[in-house]
């Protein structure tokens, strides 16, 4: 192996995948449910210590900037369209745990990054807890807030974790995250060239559930739980951080029934539970007695596993009549609104005009410039294109040969 810097070393810096303004959705069908996801990059959140931290994220027609981005709620088997409008800078949406074809998987190096608009199309086959996030400069963009919950209910709607699964009366979707304010000063493409932008140093200062930082998580209506003995609480846990997280259920009887959108064949009781980054667990809590309980989430360093931070919240259980059959469940109240801050200064360049063949649509939308210009060196894409075409030409030939052999 040559010790010299290989030509392909800049994985991410000189991508050989396209950045497209308005890529087409292949085999587009009529959707059962459609979500708009515009990109904002001027959400501000005042932390418990008074410091303001800048967030980016996705918003829909009415949500305004929130942390996390608005929850998508669909039913198993529905045809889902998610319309991504990055507007000013390239982004994608990866619907994590959903398994579509690569064009709808939101990964730049297996498809494309999106400039103006793309409609992601998929049909979820599993009911459960998923999430979505930007897959461009992922480490940075997810930290900036570009993620949200994706809940797939069974076809009959909310109330059960999955078809034939256990019922729940109270639901909480807890996306737990950590914030290192230093990262929030960075630009869109920081570290993308493989240069050392310090993205390997993560020193989290705030620990959050659904955009609420500890200790406000103890009292926030968006996080804390009020329930009655006899009710079933469903916790949909999403580790939206980069460190392992250990849940401690504080003596509440907890059963783990599903993970990563799949029912467990062998559900198990747990006092505590370790979640890897991006893992999801669905847990049922069935309190049997009144009282005040604390659920704690410990964030452990990903190497030395010291506890670097804790989030605590309160589960208050009251005595009361058992839930009436047929009562609709109390669903998760959703993410935390952010303040709309000053837009970052407009960028020097944009997708527009960067490539005559690939970007026919002018970039429209908000005046918020991207925090970092779309990387589009004038020469390189042209050089790359013939290569790309060669690779594409080869691809169809292979299946043909194979099919011939298959018949034999």
């Amino acid at each position: 192996m040559s010790p010299a810097l290989p030509d392909d070393a800049g994985y991410g810096c000189r991508p050989d995948w396209p950045q497209l303004s308005n890529p087409e959705t292949h085999g587009r069908l009529e959707p059962d449910v459609r979500f708009l996801r515009k990109v904002f990059n001027n959400g501000d959140l005042v932390m418990p210590d008074g410091e303001t931290v800048r967030f980016w994220g996705f918003e829909d027609e009415t949500s305004g900037p929130t942390l996390p981005s608005p929850t998508m709620r669909v039913r198993r088997g529905q045809l889902v369209h998610v319309v991504l409008r990055p507007s000013t800078s390239v982004h994608t949406i990866h619907h994590h745990g959903i398994e579509p074809d690569p064009r709808n998987d939101g990964v730049g190096h297996t498809s494309f990054e999106v400039g103006s608009e793309y409609t992601y199309q998929f049909r979820p086959s599993r009911a459960g807890t998923f999430f979505y996030h930007c897959h461009v400069n992922t480490a940075l963009h997810v930290q900036m807030g570009m993620y949200g919950a994706l809940i797939v209910d069974p076809p009959e709607g909310p109330g059960r974790v999955f078809e034939g699964g256990p019922r729940y009366d109270v639901e909480r979707v807890w996306a737990t995250s950590m914030v290192d304010p230093r990262w929030h000063e960075m630009s869109h493409g920081a570290g993308l060239c493989g240069g050392d932008a310090g993205l390997n140093r993560f020193d989290p200062k705030y620990f959050m559930i659904n955009g609420v930082a500890h200790p406000q998580t103890r009292t926030s209506e968006r996080v804390k739980i009020d329930a009655r003995a006899g009710q079933t609480i469903l916790l949909r846990l999403v580790n939206a951080g980069y460190f392992p997280q250990r849940y401690r259920f504080g003596g509440l009887p907890t059963e783990v029934v599903a993970s990563d959108g799949v029912p467990l064949v062998d559900p198990f009781a747990a006092d505590s539970l370790l979640l890897a980054p991006a893992e999801r667990y669905d847990c049922l809590i069935r309190p049997t007695r009144a009282g005040k309980f604390t659920i704690a989430v410990e964030f452990e360093d990903w190497i030395y596993r010291d506890v670097v931070g804790v989030v605590e919240t309160t589960v208050t259980v009251a005595e009361g009549p058992p839930p009436e059959p047929g009562t609709p469940p109390e669903l998760d109240p959703g993410p935390t609104p952010l303040n709309q801050g000053d837009a970052p200064s407009p960028s020097a360049s944009s997708l527009e005009g960067a490539s005559g063949t690939e970007a026919p649509g002018a970039v429209t939308g908000s005046s918020h410039g991207p925090a970092h210009p779309v990387r589009r060196p004038a020469k390189k894409p042209k050089k790359k294109k013939p290569k790309k075409k060669k690779a594409r030409k080869k691809a169809p030939r292979k299946p043909r040969r194979r099919r011939g052999r298959g018949r034999r």
Binding site: L5, P6, Y11, E99, P100, A139, G194, S259, I303, R408
Partner: protein
């Protein structure tokens, strides 16, 4: 296939006809011998077609994916020749009765005659089949499943034993088994085997993806050798085998070879060779390592983190591959996750003591590669660009087994796009039902065996495109992606490719 049947019927018929004529055999109203050959061979044709079809069916049942095409072709030809000869010989008495044959010379015993005719037919048919097989290979130079994974688990213990006995940096490629080529090996006695392994503790510079050279220690399979690319030495055995390992320490400080609960050589002095012997443990995936300079928590063992680790695979004795929803595993991979800290390398080079609280890795590798190199590993054989030791490439239904081993000191989250994987074993414990996951938690020194089912991605809404689909696998502990301060080049990545 029809061509082969034709060739075998007429070719083998010729051999039989010539011999019988030479022996002075006669039929009532015998036609001239050329016509006779043609007639008899035509009569034999249906039998030959059925025999060839039967051979093909037999082989298809056992056809491994990922095997070289030549071997199945040879097996197919050979088996066809055999079945055609036997069936033609079997139908010979019928033929004799129908046409009133009188054998020239002394009529051999009935069974002996059958056997002799079958052998004669085979003698004629084998060269024909060989020629046919060569033509087949010439016109179809690509392997049956060049896109599939390189390794095939056992179809029978005996068939695979010889393969398992090999060890080497090339990894799972050595375990490739072709059913056809395995015919001879089926006859091998299935006795407890001995696996001999020689390892050397070496040191030197390994080039990272950005050109930086990092000082590493390694177990390698030759003195003075250093693996620039790859996972190190994979030891393969069948549970119960005697594994004899000779470890030669070529360095200036003591080293050791150990597998938790199985074997520990103790310190091996500089220049010394330690010989340890142990019984291959219960089926599963194991991590061997140098246990020296290890704090109370073995996760932070300095010698392991400097590169002294490897994998032992203990295969089940019944040789049965795992299966996903009834579909057997057709390919097997080992993914060794590693984290590389240049600063520790320099301390080791200078023979300085290492403070195990200062581990600061800048590269995260799978099988020795990070970033693009990990996503596009070099082919094992330039003729078969899809065959590599890391990235599975297969068709729908061609389940792959991936043995993930975390040799790093960090906690990783292996996220598979495109398919959930089924976790079937965790640190040597089999999970009876398996757990389907899209993120697999990998704590330091964890070994998890997962099945990548190669299902057609479940949530695709539109009809498939006629080209391979590439899906990434990456670690979701994002700091392993932005290792070195930027995204991806030093990061822990892999992927898989499915032909819809």
């Amino acid at each position: 296939m029809l061509g082969l049947a034709l060739a075998l019927a007429y070719g083998g018929g010729l051999a039989l006809n010539v011999v019988h004529t030479a022996e002075g055999g006669h039929e009532r109203n015998e036609p001239p011998w050329v016509l006779h050959w043609f007639l008899d061979a035509s009569l034999a044709l249906p039998v030959a077609v059925m025999a060839v079809l039967a051979s093909s069916a037999l082989l298809r049942l056992r056809r491994p994916v990922g095997a070289d095409f030549r071997r199945p072709a040879a097996a197919f030809a050979g088996l066809s020749a055999l079945t055609v000869s036997v069936s033609v010989a079997l139908s010979a008495p019928l033929h004799a009765a129908a046409f009133g044959v009188r054998h020239g010379g002394e009529e051999p015993g009935f069974i002996a005659h059958l056997l002799r005719d079958a052998a004669l037919g085979l003698a004629g048919n084998l060269p024909i089949a060989a020629v046919f097989c060569s033509i087949l290979v010439l016109i179809r130079p690509r392997p049956i499943a060049a896109r599939a994974a390189p390794a095939v688990p056992p179809t029978s213990r005996a068939a695979t034993r010889r393969d398992f006995l090999k060890v080497g940096g090339a990894g799972m490629a050595v375990a490739t088994v072709a059913a056809g080529a395995g015919l001879a090996r089926l006859a091998e006695p299935a006795e407890a085997g001995q696996v001999d392994v020689a390892l050397w503790v070496n040191q030197g510079d390994v080039a990272m993806i950005d050109g930086v050279k990092v000082f590493r220690w390694q177990f390698t399979d030759a003195p003075g050798k250093l693996d620039q690319d790859g996972r190190g030495v994979v030891i393969s055995a069948v549970a119960g085998d005697t594994v004899a390992v000779a470890v030669t320490n070529t360095l200036d400080e003591p080293h050791s070879f150990a597998i938790d609960g199985v074997v520990d050589s103790g310190p091996i002095a500089p220049g010394q060779t330690a010989r340890v012997s142990f019984e291959a443990p219960a089926p599963g995936t194991y991590l061997y390592r140098d246990r020296l300079n290890e704090p109370a928590n073995p996760w932070f063992g300095a010698n392991r983190l400097l590169g002294l680790y490897g994998v032992l695979i203990s295969h089940p004795t019944d040789g049965k591959p795992s299966s996903f929803e009834g579909r057997p595993v057709v390919a097997e991979f080992v993914w060794v996750m590693s984290s590389i800290c240049p600063a520790w390398g320099e301390q080791a080079r200078a023979n300085r003591a290492i403070d195990t609280r200062t581990f600061d890795p800048r590269y995260f590798t799978i099988n020795g590669r990070s970033g693009t190199r990990a996503v596009h590993p070099p082919p094992l054989d330039p003729a078969h660009p899809h065959l590599n030791d890391t990235v599975p490439h297969g068709r729908v239904g061609e389940t792959a087994l991936i043995r993930m081993v975390n040799a790093t000191a960090s906690t990783h989250a292996a996220h598979f796009h495109g398919n959930h994987v089924r976790v079937i074993a965790v640190n040597g414990l089999a999970l009876p039902h398996g757990i389907d996951k899209d993120v697999v938690l990998m704590e330091p020194m964890d070994r998890k065996d997962v099945l990548l089912p190669f299902e057609f991605p479940l949530d695709v809404a539109a009809p498939p495109q006629d080209e391979p689909w590439h899906f990434p696998m990456h670690c979701h502990s994002e700091l392993s992606q932005s290792a070195g301060g930027g995204l991806y080049p030093s990061g822990m990545l892999s992927g898989w490719v499915i032909e819809p």
